[in-house]
Symmetry: C2
Subunit: 258 residues, 2 copies
């Protein structure tokens, strides 16, 4: 890891350039090195690892000084990371940080998350990356009380390193500052969003649907998962990789007649 | 698995309702049971696991008879699966099939793929699911020559089952019908897209970017990967799961001072 004066952080999110969580993350990182921020103009929650191939991508430079340069883009969180790595930065960043997300990215929510997709894009590119999320969906969520824990995690990542070929999915329990019991290394909980679409009729008498949903924990008894940790007021850290191969299933498939 | 007359397949894709690959997949599946098709109105390549939360989702019924019902939607491939499971179908489908994609979803391309996201959404919901892709990006790609292999894979999946908590990522080598050597069970290759944005200036003198890119295989020597199989004219099958936990990295993190 580079010395502090040479350290370069790339910061993005999926809630957009004006989100409080992004501001909190920038504030956290400023003492540790130089920063490039590039974040979506608008909220891009639920965009997962989407990339923009049908439309041109635009960039707007919002701020530039010796320590920090800030861009917004009409692209997705993953577009933002790609633009920074391939177009805007002269050298590879030492670390990519995404968030702090307004809302949970634990369990299977990681699959839908633009925040974690940005961290995973860093991972694919071999750059130590962390996504941070707070279990509070409010635009006015209070990030102040979790920054001291985020600082511990960032300092460990800088000193001890993020394990090779992984990124970290860090979730903070909802604003129970005084009750946080510690930080747990966890596995991803098995869960599913049970969607209930809200069906409405527009003024032209045509049906339309809004996606809503409720999370269902499929292993509520397990005690080594991120869901368990968060519900018991621990901060959860799940190391995440981008190799989706289900290795144990390869044997099963060798029975196939092919 | 249900008897043929009771079998229900859900079919979607990311190239859109009018894609030739979707037509080929429907043709493949028709002899095996009833079908619900729900596919995006337009191409949704690169949409990964994105869900639509900012805009209302609309549905259009295009066809309905005893054997088959066909919808299009303005949503993403994952929206399509969610709509079918939660709003359109009275019972769970026996299998979800996505594709046949026009272009490769091998190696890390799986992460960006709307086709494979649809299959993974099936997997999250505990439904046997397969994504099919042909390594030919042309809208006029010739799917006829691969259907006999797709049939073998479908019949194995119906008879022997897709391993629990996985879905299958099936890729067909580019149109070398006479040269296909067989079907290989593989792991996901480690690779990365090296993006080179094409920078242009619009009539208003503002810059914009188009995302382009070139795939780089990070382990060209490995012989057990989907990339190797495809480049040697084998069909690749990678069993895929949605637990992104990097289990070996959990030990490394236990060294952290937290």
């Amino acid at each position: 890891m580079a010395a502090k004066k040479d350290r370069l952080f790339l910061i993005t999110n999926d809630d957009g350039i004006n989100a409080k969580g992004l501001e909190a993350l920038i504030e956290l990182v400023q003492p540790y090195g130089k920063i490039m921020v590039i974040a979506p103009e608008d909220g891009q929650s639920g965009m997962s690892h989407a990339i923009t191939v049908k439309y041109p991508i635009r960039l707007k430079k919002l701020e530039e000084n010796d320590q920090q340069v800030v861009y917004s883009s009409n692209g997705t969180p993953v577009d933002c990371v790609k633009l920074a790595l391939n177009k805007l930065l002269d050298k590879r960043p030492d670390m990519i940080l995404a968030g702090i997300n307004h809302g949970s990215n634990s369990s299977s929510s990681i699959i839908y998350s633009g925040t974690m997709a940005a961290a995973m894009e860093g991972c694919i590119n071999g750059i130590p990356s962390i996504g941070f999320s707070l279990l509070d969906y409010s635009p006015e969520a209070n990030f102040g009380s979790i920054l001291k824990y985020a600082k511990i995690i960032l300092e460990n990542a800088l000193e001890k390193g993020v394990p090779k070929d992984t990124c970290l999915n860090v979730n903070f329990p909802i604003n129970t500052y005084q009750k946080i019991k510690g930080i747990k290394i966890c596995r991803q909980n098995k869960g599913v969003w049970k969607e209930e679409f809200e069906q409405r009729v527009d003024p032209m008498k045509r049906d339309y649907f809004w996606l809503t949903g409720e999370f269902k924990n499929l292993e509520p008894e397990a005690v080594d998962t991120d869901e368990w940790a968060l519900h018991h007021n621990y901060i959860s850290i799940v190391p995440v990789h981008t190799d989706l191969t289900a290795y144990p299933a390869m044997d099963h498939l060798s029975d196939w007649i092919i």
